[in-house]
Amino acid sequence: MFKISDEFEVVAKIVAGVTHQLNNVFSIVDEISGSIQDTINLGGNLTAENLKKKLDKISHHSQRGKVLVKSLNRFVHLRDTTFREIDIIELLEDFVLLHSHFINQKGFRFATCFEEEKKLVFCSPFYLFYACHQIVWNFLNIKNENSEIKISVLGSADSLKIVFSTILPKESKSDFNELIVSLGQIVSGYNIGVNLKDEEPYATVEVCFIHNK
């Protein structure tokens, strides 16, 4: 039987999430322009102030759409090269945006703690994104209720690491540990390491770079 690879599944999930977000953007723009047309065609009272408010909203959502498309475009090009130098801050900003649909749906929220300054690492960009996705996805699947997922970037130069942390129920920690071990096996060939740190009640996963230059 045909089995979709985990890597392909990540792409499918991201596309599904972005499609949903973009569809909302288009729907809002469509509705707002429709409401302006309603007022013109059906003889309502459209003040300059009201029109400006609506045009500002169209502009805001168009901007939101552009940012999403830009992030999606960077995501689809992650596989262009197996290894390269990558700015993990930019990758994490895209990661947060591209996952915001799933996070909201599950009632979770991201708390990000990283500076805007570039942090360069040498690894496989796609598998770095993949590792981050698998960690967050498993947090979401294991703990199905409101919670915060903290993402930090710590260290510098050759000791850089991305840290994901959330509160997990004690009984689910052994399953989570297994997932992280198997994730570690997949990404280790791409210069990426993942380590689980159990600091009750938190589950903390560190993503590090094995040979960062």
Binding site: T19, H20, N24, S27, I28, E31, G34, H61
Partner: protein, 124 residues
Amino acid sequence: MEQELKIKILIVDDEVELAEILEERLNFRGFYAKSVVDHIQAIREAEKTKYDVALIDVKLKGMNGIELMKLLLEMNPELKVILFTGHGSEGEGKRGLESGAVRYLFKPIDLEKLISEINDILKS
């Protein structure tokens, strides 16, 4: 009194701005429309007012739209539910229709089509 005569539509969508603008457009077209963003507000609103139609986004925070629909139908069996979604999942649509929805629409919703659907549903 005027409100009593209008067709009452409850809109449940966690995309706040979309829900608000749809509310505004439906009100402009002569309906009594009220938008809410989650299941808690929807249930509260359904307790206060007997709605004729509910437009519910399938993907809601906190509670799936289909589950919310079942609750609202228990509260008011005469309610006609139209589910809508940004996802094109046919399975979800089928499940919604089997669970009591009268229509399943995809976003972006064409307002003229929506109004025509509402009128058809209420006539039948």
